[in-house]
């Protein structure tokens, strides 16, 4: 049982939860995630550890409501408890001083890229961050990202705030302006990561993506999370979750993410199913 300390909305469909998890808080590094299960009948779902406080023994997760489990999670209150919480899982991000890095987050992906930006900044990198969402109200963690970035650019698809357009267009502009970029971290919906990798391919900028494949155990036992990287099968949970984006077969990933669309829709009729390959 892990007690919920806080569960607050960041935007219409994105929620921040702080959990009591001393062992995980002690150990966790940037890039790692947890698996949680709300109750006896619940599903095991992976969520990135956005932040932690080793002293207080807490971790923070930020999730988007896309289906039954995340919707149920959003209903919980401070003081409630999750039945199961396992972690930290996955390999930590390889953090070094690379020089100039660009951290890009789309939608709830901003929550996933945030701990990377923190660690990269701490390691001495010059951090340029680009965060984006469909519209202004869906932008999350703007202040937090600003604090850890040398420069922050916000983009919205509808132009309601910041740059009018996709985060990929912002990155393209930076490249066109001759900005010398050593590494890109791109985290968000699959189509966004794919486009960003296309942008960085020609200028040969190493681009790290964090994959959100469907998982069960998250310890390398089942292979549900398998992806194809440079033509080789990898397990996202133990070989990743971060990979060189130029080697990832995004089409396969997005197909596999749709494997349970029909039954999942059945389980979560009242809400729009996230079966658009995101």
């Amino acid at each position: 049982m892990n007690k919920i300390i806080e569960n607050t909305k960041l935007s219409e469909s994105v929620v921040k939860m702080v959990l009591d998890a001393p062992a995980i808080a002690q150990k966790r590094q940037a890039g790692q995630f947890i698996i949680l299960k709300i109750n006896e009948k619940g599903e095991r779902i992976p969520l990135t550890i956005v932040d932690s406080d080793a002293q207080a023994g807490t971790i923070t997760i930020i999730y988007q409501v896309v289906g039954k489990t995340t919707a149920a999670l959003a209903q919980l209150k401070a003081g409630d408890a999750l039945q199961d919480l396992q972690g930290p899982l996955g390999n930590p991000t390889e953090i070094e001083n690379y020089g100039k890095v660009v951290c890009i987050g789309g939608g709830v992906g901003v929550g996933v890229v945030y701990p990377l930006a923190v660690a990269l900044k701490k390691a001495g990198n010059e951090v340029i961050s680009i965060i984006g969402a469909r519209t202004k109200d869906l932008i999350i963690l703007e202040k937090e990202m600003e604090k850890v970035s040398d420069k922050l650019i916000v983009a919205t698809d509808d132009g309601s705030y910041g740059f009018h357009g996709f985060v990929s267009a912002v990155l393209q502009q930076l490249i066109d302006k001759g900005e010398k970029i050593d590494r890109v971290y791109a985290i968000g919906p699959v189509p966004m990561m794919k486009v960003l990798c296309d942008v960085t391919k020609a200028p040969r900028i190493k681009t790290i993506v964090s994959l959100n494949s469907i998982m069960v155990d998250a310890t390398g036992m089942c292979g549900a999370c398998r992806v194809s990287v440079a033509g080789k099968t990898k397990f996202t949970c133990v070989d990743g979750p971060e990979f060189d984006g130029h080697d990832v077969d995004f089409k396969l990933l997005s197909n596999r993410l749709k494997m349970y669309c029909d039954p999942e829709r059945e389980a979560y009729e009242n809400h729009k199913c996230g079966c658009d390959g995101n």
Binding site: E43, P88, V216, L252
Partner: protein
């Protein structure tokens, strides 16, 4: 001469038949009915049947059956208790050497172990030792008065066990009984290992495993679930926290794929994933339970072991119209237990022998629609002594499928070796032990079960746990 000898045999046989009580059958659910549910297939013996069967045992002076048992269960002794109607005593006798009799009575390959050496079996059918074991253990559990031995005085020494499978549960029970302070760290949210995530409900009801785990808790064993050794904490961190010895019983949990084109298409599962979704996560009860599983109509299961049988029978129960076993050798070489194959056949599973998949075909959405196979023939025996399959030229054909389960084996998970400096593994990644004690290349660290032997059996894993318990006790007594 010939005629006379046949005549003699016949009269002898008739005489024997008159006296001989046949091996008692266990009543079972009808195949047609049971493929619509996940309930256990055999119902178990009634008290009368159990006594009748127990009386078939002739109480050999030098019982071969015990020698055939990896944990030396006192077989004639427990059977005698049943024959005389003392069922609880029979269970206690079993428990002297086997901590999980209700499990072993159901899943042990008795035909290759105890029953293989039964003297009655030389002429007719052996005493149904497994069924009697199950009967006694069930009787005790259902009677509701499972005796908890009095607590042992603590010796103040702490033992950490990685993995709550049969090996970990066994060593925990043994060491807590010797006064050790025992904590099991289990990666998943439930204890039991393969017994809860792999073997289906219709073969091993999960309530039985839960009862065994509960019993250990009552004995004083602490179980920390959701705790991945190597991730949540490393073995060296456990030592630093004051644990005096560690046992690694994490199984051979990583799935093997065949690395053929199209294997990552949607609808293709490892047996581990398919069974974990169904058993551990109860996906067969979706949407009451939240975890989904693909309910395929044409399901091909690749492999010929127990895992393949469990998968294909699960597919049937999930509503498959065609449930197929695809195996590259013949039924003679198939490693699955005879009983499982028999049950699968009764239930309507198709067995496509001498067939090997070489490629999967998918539709535009990336879902598997076909399985390209080669026909095989048997050639020379290979290293395992089985005749190895050789592909027949130009024999390619396609089987229509919408779901595939790959059940061609498992391998070692590298998380613990990778995070435990100095822990020696072999070429395949299994942990190297010095001898039967389970001692690894590091002082104070022992290992046993599938993570040492590769995928084997419940009873061998239990035996390894028991031997390591003895070794750890000796090691810490000297310290």
């Amino acid at each position: 001469m010939k005629i006379i000898s046949v005549g003699v045999m016949e009269t002898k046989e008739i005489k024997e038949k008159k006296e001989k009580v046949p091996r008692q059958k266990m009543p079972e659910q009808e195949p047609k009915k049971r493929i619509r549910n996940f309930e256990e297939v055999p119902f178990g013996y009634s008290e009368e049947t159990a006594i009748t069967e127990a009386k078939r045992c002739i109480q050999c002076k030098k019982p071969g059956c015990i020698a055939g048992c990896p944990v030396d269960v006192k077989i004639p002794e427990f059977i005698k208790e049943i024959a005389e109607g003392r069922f609880t005593e029979a269970a206690l006798k079993l428990k002297e050497t086997n901590g999980l009799p209700a499990v072993c009575g159901r899943v042990c390959p008795q035909e290759d172990q105890c029953e293989k050496f039964c003297i009655i079996g030389k002429k007719g059918e052996p005493v149904a030792i497994g069924r009697l074991e199950r009967f006694a253990a069930d009787f005790e559990r259902n009677s509701g008065n499972v005796k908890i031995p009095p607590a042992v005085r603590s010796n103040g020494k702490k033992i950490a066990i990685a993995g709550a499978g049969p090996s970990g549960l066994t060593i925990a029970g043994d060491l807590v009984g010797l006064g050790y302070d025992v904590t099991i760290f289990e990666a998943l949210h439930k204890a039991g290992g393969v017994l809860v995530y792999g073997i289906p409900e219709f073969r091993l009801p999960k309530a039985i495993v839960e009862a065994e785990v509960e019993y250990l808790r009552k004995l004083g064993v602490k179980i920390e679930t959701n705790f991945v050794i190597g991730r949540t904490k490393t073995i060296d961190e456990l030592f630093a926290e004051g644990f005096n010895a560690v046992f690694i019983g994490v199984g051979a949990g990583a799935p093997v794929f065949m690395d053929i084109p199209g294997e990552n298409l949607s609808g293709i599962y490892s047996a581990n994933e398919y069974l974990t979704r169904s058993n551990l996560m109860k996906a067969y009860l979706f949407p009451e339970y939240d975890t989904p599983i693909v309910r395929g109509k044409r399901v091909a299961v690749v492999g010929g072991g127990n895992v393949a049988m469990d998968s294909v029978r699960t597919a049937l129960r999930l509503g498959a119209e065609r449930a197929m076993i695809i195996y590259r050798r013949t039924d003679v070489e198939m490693p699955a237990r005879k009983e499982e194959v028999h049950h699968a056949q009764e239930e309507g599973v198709e067995f496509l022998m001498l067939t090997a998949p070489v490629e999967y075909i998918g539709n535009d959405a990336g879902w598997v629609t076909g399985m390209k196979c080669l026909k095989m023939e048997l050639g020379e025996p290979d290293a395992s002594g089985r005749r190895s399959p050789v592909a027949i030229k130009d024999s390619e054909y396609v089987i229509d499928v919408d779901t595939v389960v790959v059940a061609v084996g498992t391998m070692a998970n590298p998380i613990i070796p990778a995070t435990t400096p100095g822990l020696e593994t072999n070429k395949k990644g299994y942990i190297v032990t010095k001898d039967e004690s389970g001692l690894t290349s590091r002082e104070g660290i022992y290992a046993g079960g599938d993570i040492v032997t590769g995928s084997a059996t419940v009873i061998l894993a239990m035996g390894a746990g028991r031997k390591a318990a003895k070794a750890i006790d000796e090691y810490l007594s000297k310290k």
